[in-house]
Symmetry: C2
């Protein structure tokens, strides 16, 4: 196998919603109350129920030179077109040799968490449904066969959530974006019976629960003075706390075919966590009374929990300690960690260093994602048209050189003053304040 023969399906990318995403899909009763973009202080700002969200392009810096990276983008003009325009997105996928992509929401929060707190539950549910309809019909189906659709659901009414899972599953959606820890947002824990209708609907419809980092138990900023790099470095592994919480959660016994993904969690620390979970069970279950019915926590993990990575050579070195059938690749376009437009080269280098077999490479790059999400691009396109080489052949006109000046809104950096957690938090706060004016 050569680099050009690789086939990439990414289980974690992000769509920036374009200004009128919600408008055509909002239920008639709530027309005019849908989330909408307004311009405030030279920024594009989402407004819903008179509440403004100060930044709308969270870290969507793909295509910039690294010197212009930042947590802003405060407007569409500060982002590459492929972040919000699905036609341009597909061209960017082609240029990066990426066949398929699952895109998480941005304005609603990766798991729809920002739409769970409005007083009027009717208009909130309408916005969630409008989001799902936009995502499926206007984003994914605008390029049939190129996206794995996912949905968000209301959290305050688990039956309504289950109904939404059913409604979307009937249209082919097989992924639910859900918080890795809903208690962070004031909702019941994953151990609570509250969620049973959601788990049942997912199990009945073969829908996979996708828990993206940052939707619950976030990485903490160690201090205001900490270089922001330290926070960035621990974002993926910070989902370890929730991963353990899901290992010991009750839904797996009740719904043996239910599955989940730790989206953007990385893979190199997973074997450690599984061993530590088994150790914990062996040492403590005699007094904690927890039970896996004779199985080990690592058995539960290997069966039910899928992991994914952007770059993770140590994880690839240790695939035999994970479950190679539940590891997938992700691109993370358009966020700052993504390796666009050189993702195939980065993967190929690491896979070659670790001498992965062709079979393992195929599982990780696309087969596992295709199986888990019922995604079948080969029937539609023919496998030979799905490779890095074939896709890049179609994208020779796409400009991938870094574009200068998009980060014009980013603050000037002082080379002697590393950017700190406090700097970033103050930037977010001031963006929120400016949006609210």
């Amino acid at each position: 196998m050569n680099l050009d023969d690789l086939i990439f399906v990414s289980v974690d990318d992000h769509a920036i919603e374009p200004p009128n995403a919600f408008t055509p899909h909002m239920a008639a009763k709530y027309k005019g109350r849908e989330p909408r973009i307004v311009e405030r202080s030279g920024r594009d700002v989402w407004v819903f129920e008179e509440t403004a969200s100060g930044y709308m392009g969270l870290n969507s810096v793909v295509g910039r030179p690294k010197e212009e990276y930042g947590m802003e983008p405060l407007g569409y003009a500060h982002m590459r077109r492929g972040t919000w325009d699905v036609g341009a997105r597909v061209e960017d996928m082609n240029a990066n040799g990426v066949l398929g992509s699952m895109c998480f929401p941005t304005f609603p929060g990766f798991a729809g968490q920002r739409l769970q707190h409005y007083a009027d539950r009717g208009v909130s549910l309408a916005a969630i449904r409008a989001y799902n309809d936009w995502h499926l019909h206007d984003w994914c189906n605008a390029a049939m066969g190129r996206f794995i659709p996912l949905m968000i659901v209301p959290w305050w009414d688990a039956q309504a959530a289950a109904d939404e899972v059913e409604r979307m599953a009937k249209q082919g959606v097989r992924a639910l974006s859900f918080s890795d820890n809903p208690t962070v947002h004031g909702y019941p824990s994953i151990h609570n019976g509250h969620w049973d209708p959601v788990w049942k609907a997912c199990a009945d419809n073969d829908v996979v629960i996708c828990c993206h980092i940052g939707t619950g138990g976030n990485a903490g900023h160690a201090s205001d003075e900490s270089p922001i790099d330290a926070w960035i470095a621990t974002m993926p592994i910070s989902i370890a706390n929730s991963a353990a919480d899901w290992i010991w959660a009750p839904m797996w016994k009740k719904y043996p075919n239910l599955r989940m993904v730790l989206s953007e969690g990385g893979i190199g620390w997973i074997p450690y966590l599984m061993e530590r979970a088994d150790f914990t069970h062996r040492h403590h279950s005699a007094w904690t009374m927890s039970s896996f019915g004779g199985q080990r926590p690592s058995d539960v993990f290997k069966k039910h929990i899928m992991t994914c990575f952007i770059e993770d050579e140590f994880g690839l070195k240790n695939l035999d300690s994970i479950n190679v059938d539940n590891v997938a690749w992700e691109c993370d376009y358009p966020h700052s960690d993504c390796t666009w437009p050189k993702s195939p080269e980065v993967f190929w280098q690491q896979a070659s260093n670790q001498k992965l077999s062709d079979a393992a490479i195929d599982k990780i790059t696309h087969l596992n994602a295709m199986r888990n999400f019922g995604y079948d691009p080969f029937t539609r396109f023919g496998r030979e048209n799905c490779t890095v080489g074939a896709l890049r052949e179609k994208a020779k006109h796409v400009k991938t050189e870094p574009q200068l000046g998009m980060g014009g809104a980013a603050p000037k950096r002082d080379p002697n003053k590393p950017v700190t957690s406090g700097d970033i938090n103050r930037m977010f706060a001031s963006a929120d304040a400016a949006a609210t004016l």
Copy 2:
């Protein structure tokens, strides 16, 4: 090499302070105001400056049958004698084949954090100094050559802390127990110049900073309803956030010989974190302005940061991805994770599974700890008297069978109701309330 030839030096155990630990060491001016044990509601309670701490035996369940494990011990009668009596401790070490041990404080907090918040700084400093004197003279030196002493320091006055480092270092103490994140306790971050006198004193005196899990960025309880096992499972890896914070911290450039330990942090996830840190630096430093002077974050980690483990076969499998000169073994006596009295068997099994070389085994079990902490038991005892076989030969009279009934204070368990984070937190709160009555 056989199991009996192994030599174990543990870099993480715990002393339970006996009732009169502080009394003989308190400065004359503060005599009578030292922390002391009183009995309240049938419990032994530490009282200092009219403030009571509700539990004093935190998780010190060694020697119990596992069914009687729990987070209490609320009194000396609920704990094995080796937890608080140094003579009995040495016998327990012999029975477990452990030559040397570094013991963290219990009542003061593992890093002395509970002694940092009293209004009267004078009495607080006197208590800290009395603690250090008790620990060195009455605990460690009661069995010369069997312990690696460590100290705690005041945080509110970095020069006083540096003076205490000097004072103890002159007496041979080469380890400082310090919070992995002092901002959690309201003190300046590790990036702040506040701590410079402490770093300098440690560097000047070859004192190693030991950051034990739980002294700063603690593992979170995912929810009240989460099985406590999930929390236990992620306690070690939860120090990853602080580990990144220390990687990007400024003291390494200024004091190139300064070193630290992530105490009880485990090792299997370390290669992942180092790779992720390098990735972060490569992807982001152009805009974050952080610099390692041409080195990589992983170089800083490998040079300055020591790690340790209780059981961690995945880590042992990947020693080539860590730095085998900075990995050490720990026993964690008397906490519930410890493998006493079968620690040599547990280690030997994992080392054999992974086919570790004799050289690697010696480094990990004792040589790295001896070098890092300037600990030389061989000169005192002769190497041949330091082995598992030699020590156990002296401990044939020590009863190591689980003792029934010590956990009488532990609540009765319902086999159908796993113990949750909420249960444990309520237990702590009620112990504190009972202590305060």
